[in-house]
Structures are given as C-alpha cells and as structure tokens.
Symmetry: C2
C-alpha cells in the first residue's frame, strides 16, 4: 500500500464530505476532531480527539500524515508555521491561509495585487467609524459594515451600523475592527477555484449565492444571466488570488455584483465551501475530490457542470428535530433529489444538511430544491 495519508484538522461537515470524496481515491484519511461525535468523526475510521489550538496535539496528529489540510480556518497561524518547520506538509500553507484568517491581511493583500474590494480600512473606535463614513465620496457613507478581523463566519463577527452610537458594540471585545462600505449590490456571487502545488488550477462555473440573515441559503450554478464578461472576470479574479497568495487546495471567493456592474471581493475561504456543494452532484469533479487532488499534488479533475442547472439549498435546523421522518415525503415526491445530511443535532438556524437538484428548467429545479429544504426543516408540511 503506497497510498498517502491525508490528515484533516476539524470534524465538521466539510471534513465529512471530504472523507466521502476520498474513499474512492483509496487514500488513508485521518481526522483531528474536537469530539468523537462531530459530523466527520461519525463516519471516519481513524479519528484523534483533541484540541487544534494545542500545538503538541497538532504535532502528534501530523506525525505520519503525508499532508495536513483543514475543515476550517481556525488553526493558529503560528502553529501552522511550527508544523512546517517540523517538516509537515501543510496545504494550504500558513502564508496563504492567513489571508482567510485575518480580514485586515486579506484586504491589504488584495489592494496590493490590484483586486477590487469594497472601500475599507481598520478603525480604532466609534468616532473613527464616523470618520470612515464621512470619507465616502458622497459624503455620507452610512451604514458601515464592521467586522472583527479574525474569527467571524456565517454572519458572526459582522455588524451593519447606521450611526456612531451603533458602532460601539464591535469594539467591546477589544479586537481589531475592519470597516467596509456597505456595497450596493445586485446579488452575491462566488467563484470557486482549485490550485495545486505544481501550479495547475481549475475554475468552476461562477455561482449565485443567496444569503438569508448572513447565512448561505441557496446556490444556483451557474449564476443566472451573468454575462460572459463578468463571469470571466470573476474567474480570473479568483485564479489571480489563488496564484498570488500561493493557495493550494480549494479557494472560494465570495463576491458582490454591484449595481454599477462591478465585481468586488467580499470574503475568501481556503477549503471546500458551501458555495461549492452543488459540485457533488452537478460537476464532473466535486470540490471535495479536487481539494484532495490538489493537496496531494495530483492532476486536477474536470470542473465543468454535468447539468444545465444545479441548485443547492441548505437545510437549516428548524422547529422539530426529526429530519429523517421527512425523507419519506421528499424521496417519494422527487426520486432525483440528492440529500446530504451531516449527522448534526438540530438547532434552530444551524446548517445540518443540504439538498441538490439539477435539470434543464431553472424554475423547476429551484422549486424542487426549495421544497425539499423547507420540508426537511419543517417550514412547510405541504
């Protein structure tokens, strides 16, 4: 057996689905998980339960792994540098990953390489936020988006403030705060690309990502009505970022399509991403398979779509905990529905799974996905 050992830090659904994609590759998969009950830990054979914030734990886990990669971006940068100094192959490496960990570093780098972002700067207190708002070309930049530079996701660590008084909350934690203009956007897009250490890269079709309360609710692949010019621009932007930041593995670039026809970078993620889940059933090679191929420095798989339209709808925790019961209705109603559940306990608003549908008629494909996601959640009982 000469098949490599891939270590994944973090036991969430991304690791779970990466394992699923790794089974056919015949690789050996090891997981570092917070608990034995985490989403991925339920389905993986070789699980180490431990704290990724502890360097000694990381070192023990990494020993014997041919490559270490991630379910999330929360491993301290200095620990990753220590692992690299030990000789561990870490992909993406800390010099790349820091751009997905620290929004201030990310914004500075995008400015440096000429990738357009929303207007932004680090702010020091509520008065400074007011000054940032006043710097807007129109003279009135309210509301302002404030973000802690580290640790935010799915709307956490993000505030939209309308005046100086509202701007006080983000500073209470005593961590650096980034101010960004609230972009006037038509919709949100995502450009997913995968890059390997030897420099090969592939770009998935640009998708539309529909957010509700800061959480991804639905993804449409490809983004309906997007011009070839903007789609190409979004893909080139993501490929440029992957190259300039020396990303290895999957890179998701969340984008705003502005009312005046520009593409601005919102966030980066260096791992398989919710906006790429559609690829499991809708692309020739899934984001999970390609992430593994990239971190193993194998040739990348074909990223093209298999269907005219693919729609992914997140299943969020709702009012009743028994999602399995809903399978009867959803599977009988739509035999082509693809259900992906994560083995997570249902909590209101928590992402516990997703469904995908595909076909030639976008309205029909969307309606099927929405129905299934809403039925599983309990929003509708038909």
């Amino acid at each position: 057996m000469n098949f490599p050992v891939v270590g994944v830090v973090g036991g969430g659904q991304l690791a779970r689905m990466t394992h699923e994609a790794g089974i056919p590759l015949g690789i050996q998969f090891r997981l570092l998980s917070d608990t034995a009950q985490d989403s991925a830990a339920q389905v993986v054979s070789q699980v180490t339960v431990g704290d990724y914030r502890d360097l000694a734990t990381l070192r023990r886990f990494a020993a014997g792994c041919d490559v270490v990669t991630f379910d999330h971006e929360h491993v301290p940068t200095e620990h990753l540098r220590a692992l690299q100094a030990d000789g561990v192959v870490v992909r993406p490496g800390p010099d790349a990953l820091v751009h997905a960990q620290d929004k201030a570093v990310m914004r500075a780098k995008l400015d440096e390489i000429g990738v357009p972002s929303p207007r932004h700067r680090i702010v020091s207190d509520p008065a400074d936020v007011a000054a940032f708002a006043a710097e807007h070309p129109s003279g009135s930049g309210w509301p302002v988006v404030l973000k802690t530079v580290r640790g935010g996701y799915d709307g956490k660590g993000v505030w939209v403030v309308h005046d100086q008084q509202e701007a006080e909350a983000p500073f209470r934690a005593g961590v650096p705060v980034l101010a960004e203009e609230k972009v006037d956007f038509v919709r949100e897009l995502a450009a997913n690309v995968v890059r390997s250490p030897h420099g090969q890269a592939v770009a998935y079709p640009v998708v539309e990502s529909i957010q509700v309360d800061g959480v991804c609710n639905e993804v449409i692949a490809p983004a309906p009505g997007l011009t070839d010019e903007l789609a190409g621009q979004a893909q080139r932007t993501a490929l440029t970022i992957a190259k300039e930041l020396q990303v290895t593995g999957h890179l998701a670039v969340e984008l705003f399509q502005t009312t005046d026809g520009r593409i601005l970078v919102n966030e980066l993620a260096m791992r398989p991403h919710n906006s790429g889940h559609w690829t499991q059933d809708g692309a020739i090679t899934s984001q999970f398979a390609n992430h593994l191929r990239a971190v193993l420095d194998l040739p990348l798989g074909d990223p093209r779509p298999r269907a005219r339209w693919t729609v992914m709808a997140n299943v969020l925790g709702g009012d009743y905990p028994d999602m399995y019961q809903g399978y009867l209705h959803c599977m009988a109603r739509d035999p082509a529905l693809r259900i992906h559940m994560y083995g997570k306990d249902v909590k209101p608003g928590r992402k516990v799974g997703h469904v995908t549908t595909y076909g030639d008629d976008l309205d029909e494909v969307r309606a099927r996905a929405r129905h299934a996601a809403d039925y599983l959640r309990g929003t509708i009982s038909e």
Copy 2:
C-alpha cells in the same frame, strides 16, 4: 438524532462503497468485518471485528442495528433465521437470500416461477454428468458446466468439463454439484433491480458484462444494440424474480443472451454487484444508495442514466503493487476519469478497484476506461 443504524456484514469493497453512499443519508453505519484491515473497515467509524459464521458474534453485532444487510452472501442461512427469530430486521431475509446462496434452490425456484434458465439438474457422479450430457436434445451435450451449489463466485467453484473423466474434479469436495448446459451465448447481460419491503421496485438499464476468465472485466451501460424487446424482457425477468423471491435491496440478475435470441438466467446476487458499479457515476441514483434506501424501506431513487453511455472497467491486480503512482498519468490524461480504489493489497487477478467513464461516443468512452484500467494494472505503460 433519529437516524437509523444500518449494520453491514462483511468488510469488502461493496460495504466500503455502501458506506460512501450512506454518508450523505446521515445514517449510522456499523460494520462486521473479518479484520480491521478489510476494505470497508479502513473507512468506517464503527467496526466490529469478528467471524460472521459465529452466531453469537452476529447476535452481538445485530443488537442495536435497525436493519442488518450484507456485503456478501456467505452468512449461513440458519444464522439469519436465528437473527430473525430474535427480532432482528434482516434484509434481504434468509428466505430470499438462500436463492443467492444455493444454486440448486435458485434453479428450482426459477423453474417454479417460469423464468428460463439453462438446462440443468443436480448430478451425483461423473457417470451422471455423462448421462446429463446425453440428455441434450442434440444427443451430445458436452461440454457441461459443473458448479458447486454453494460458495462459488468469480469463476471459483465452476468447471467446464468436456468428458466424463474431466467431470471427476468437482465431486472431490463431497458437496452437491449442479450440472448446466454450456449455453451458446452472444454475450452476457445483467439486469439490476432494487426492491423495497413495501413493494416498490426500480430497474436500472440492462448492461453488457464482459467477462475474462470468469471475472467481470468491463460493463457497458446500456448494453449496446440490445433491442427494446429483449431489454424489457430482461428487466421484467429481474423484477419478477425480485417480487417472487421477496427480495429486499439490490438484486443483480446475470443473464445469457443466446445465439437464438433468448434471455436465460445465469446467476443471482442479492447485494450491490459489480455489474452495477457504473451507477455510481452514470445513474441518477447509485445501486449503493438505492440498496440502502431499500433496506431502510425508504422511497427508491431514480435509476435512470445520466449519460448516453457509461463504461466501467475493473482494475485487477497486476505485476506491480504501486497503483497510486499511476494516478498521475491517468488523471492528467483524462480529467473526467472516475477512479474507485478499494484499499486492497494488490495480488495478481484480484479486483482492487474500478474506473468509470461516460460520454456520447461509446468507442471513445470504452477506450478511456480500458486505457485507465490497463495503465493502473501495469498492462500498458503508454
């Protein structure tokens, strides 16, 4: 968490791929495996290492499983009856499974329900084989196919004998022997169907199965040039068998297409089957997902193909043990190739994986699959 616990007996590649298909369903998967190194045991979280021939082991394993199903057909029928008597849900049940375990029982049942088989009868010694040959309508029925009624697979337990002297070998083991006419066939086909306890059934497209030395080498879906009439007849035959034998789960019916235009049943398998591996990448719902849905009595998934042609080629063990090295060439040459490796040590002739390809041009699709399988095996180095 109300998701059911599925117990699978046997740690081979079928269990491995069933687990892969079960991850998105969110079910809990438990495995009874001969060793901790078996193909499926490498990738499953909850593994019991034990001997499936030991009833006490089976009982301990089955306790806490909502349903027990199988990677193979070797569990003694009486053990399955004992489990059923304990209240364990066993799918397929022993009354169905015995037809895939015992070729004499299978042939008798197919005769009873009017499904055409090759001419056959139990034979007691070499002289009886000669008598069976002489009973052929032409007066000369040599060669004769002899099969041990239990335990054969992939060409094992099968002899093709040309005279009475050659007919001695199969009787040496002292087990019952079934004689069958050597059918004059154009090709081998397989009809895969899935049936649930509530009586729903789905039929996959009929495929052509190309055997080399009694081992499946390649599967083409759908079978090229098969008339709608014969395809329908093959599907109806498989659905009839599934219903009459009360099969729950996946049923593979291996068929001969005879030179005189008939369809005869060769073998039955009541589990996911090599002739259905193409469904992983080529059908809307894979045989593994549908087997799980059936044994859980969930509505079945759409069995229709996603591509005009899908080809599966088995990767057999060859002369060199390092198959991973071949990934570089195969993945770079064909970014749409799907590789499925089983984590098994390479031994000459052993099935260690398979590849699938799909597309609109059958010659091109076949050539891609054959090239990859031969390259991984080491038969060609391009």
